[in-house]
């Protein structure tokens, strides 16, 4: 169920590398934990972020969660669709629920992230 070409973080973000850019979102595990998502606070296009810096905030009925950038980069696009339909994050977290597109600053940072099998093992560890 988790795309094999994504990289994953321990905070349940994913990044899909496309050339020297990356599409970033939260995983299915994260959207399930959050519950019904109401509202997403998106960053400004052009913002420069360090790895693990907050990209924005996802609000569900019962909780507030920061979304962290998996790698350092510059925001080149944000998913405006989310301001209209925040529940895209629940319905399609790995696809139409993408949050930002960023220009990756240093590809070497990807090596510190998990590949799909490591992430799935990580999830199993959490559930026990």
């Amino acid at each position: 169920m988790y795309p094999s070409d994504f990289y994953y973080t321990k905070d349940h973000e994913w990044i899909k590398v496309e050339g020297n850019e990356g599409l970033v979102g939260i995983t299915d595990f994260a959207q399930h934990q959050l519950g019904d998502i109401i509202f997403v606070e998106l960053p400004q296009v052009g913002a420069e972020l360090a790895a693990h810096q907050s990209i924005g905030v996802v609000e569900s009925v019962k909780s507030v969660s920061d979304v962290y950038s998996p790698v350092a980069g510059k925001i080149v696009a944000v998913n405006d669709g989310l301001s209209q339909t925040a529940d895209l994050l629940n319905k399609d977290p790995h696809g139409r629920g993408w949050i930002v597109r960023l220009k990756i600053k240093d590809r070497k940072e990807l090596e510190g992230l998990m590949k799909v099998s490591d992430y799935e093992k990580f999830l199993e560890g959490l559930e026990s």
Partner: protein
């Protein structure tokens, strides 16, 4: 963690369980919004066994309940229920609660799960001069709440009690799914519905038969998450958030439960003083004008000054907007007054609106 007698049934239904005031309780099953809307449009079943049940019995039972509470318990006939509070001498809250008149010498008090031990100690601790007995029967009782427009339709085939004849805030005893129960037409959602109490050590059939009868009609099991969004839309109080031992009954906008003419009671002199002098602050309902969700403890500003913190706040699933409750200085409590809530680093505009935020169309 304590477990209710329905604990395993929740897990079988796939509930997400959490710890709540020392109990392992379901916070959600299908999801807060689905559960909330099920109660508003069809029906929902809640396990509320964690609530407390205290009996006040004896020759002075009524006089004692009158002394401890601001509402007039003398108006209750056997079979009637009343919303009221345990008052401190400062007219602040020990708790809010329901009082059931069983008979003129027996009153059944139902209190919040978070306060059972505190409330029992309070009720047992003021009996000097009253010929009464106070008993904490919370552990013996299991309780479920069936709420929503289809509640009566779902429950009637399961009970020998004539529900059609039961008016709001009345109770009756009988069998539900073959088990001896006390059933009242009360609830914490703003919908029609019933609360079902039983001391049967094996009350599982009460839960399972309602689920079985109700599911084909669209009934869902409901967790604590939706319990909170439902009660907030109906402006029902949550102790610790909206009312506490730091808020007076008048400040909490609960003047309607104060019946001064009934006689003396704890807190009465302070209430009379506040009525004469006027209030400095009051609990109001608000909605956000800017995007965001106001949550408990977020700072509240009038002008540039912090005046209080949000008491309760959420995104209302039925009204589809962010709502909340907060104490504002009396000069800022008029409907339409704009103020601000600090959400992370942003001053988010809000305005005072009428409450309850939601009121059901028909009322029995």
């Amino acid at each position: 963690m304590k477990k209710t007698r329905f604990n395993e049934l929740h897990k079988k239904l796939g509930a997400k369980m959490v710890e709540f005031v020392g109990w392992e309780m379901p916070i959600e099953y299908k999801g807060i919004i689905d559960e909330h809307m099920a109660v508003r449009t069809r029906a929902g079943l809640f396990d509320v066994s964690h609530m407390g049940e205290v009996f006040v019995t004896g020759k002075d039972a009524l006089a004692y309940v009158q002394w401890l509470t601001p509402n007039d318990a003398a108006r209750l006939l056997p079979g009637q229920v009343q919303y009221t509070a345990l008052m401190t001498p400062e007219s602040t809250f020990v708790d809010d609660m329901l009082v059931y008149c069983i008979n003129p010498r027996t009153y059944f008090l139902v209190v919040n799960a978070a306060n059972v031990d505190k409330d029992f100690a309070w009720i047992a601790g003021h009996t000097k001069g009253f010929e009464v007995r106070v008993e904490n029967q919370s552990d013996a009782y299991s309780q479920v709440a069936l709420q929503g427009p289809l509640a009566e339709k779902i429950l009637q085939p399961l009970t020998d009690i004539a529900l059609g004849a039961m008016k709001s805030f009345w109770w009756s005893k009988g069998k539900v799914a073959g088990i001896e129960c006390l059933v009242s037409r009360t609830g914490y959602t703003g919908e029609d519905g019933f609360e079902v109490y039983s001391t049967d050590p094996d009350p599982g059939a009460v839960w399972t038969s309602i689920i079985e009868k109700g599911t084909p009609l669209g009934l869902l099991p409901i967790g604590l998450g939706a319990r909170d969004t439902l009660r907030l839309e109906s402006k029902l109080m949550l102790y610790g958030n909206d009312i506490s031992d730091k808020t007076t009954v008048l400040e909490a906008d609960l003047k309607w439960i104060v019946k001064l003419q009934k006689g003396d009671f704890l807190g009465k002199p302070v209430i009379e003083k506040q009525l004469a002098e006027g209030l400095q602050r009051k609990l109001v309902g608000f909605e956000l004008i800017d995007k965001g969700i106001a949550r408990p403890h977020y700072p509240v500003y009038v002008g540039a000054q912090k005046v209080s913190e949000v008491c309760s706040g959420t995104f209302s699933p039925f009204l589809k907007k962010p709502i909340g409750l907060a104490y504002l200085p009396i000069g800022a409590t008029a409907i339409g007054t704009e103020f601000e809530v600090g959400i992370r680093d942003k001053m988010t505009r809000a305005k005072v609106i009428p409450t309850p935020f939601y009121k059901r169309a028909d009322k029995k």
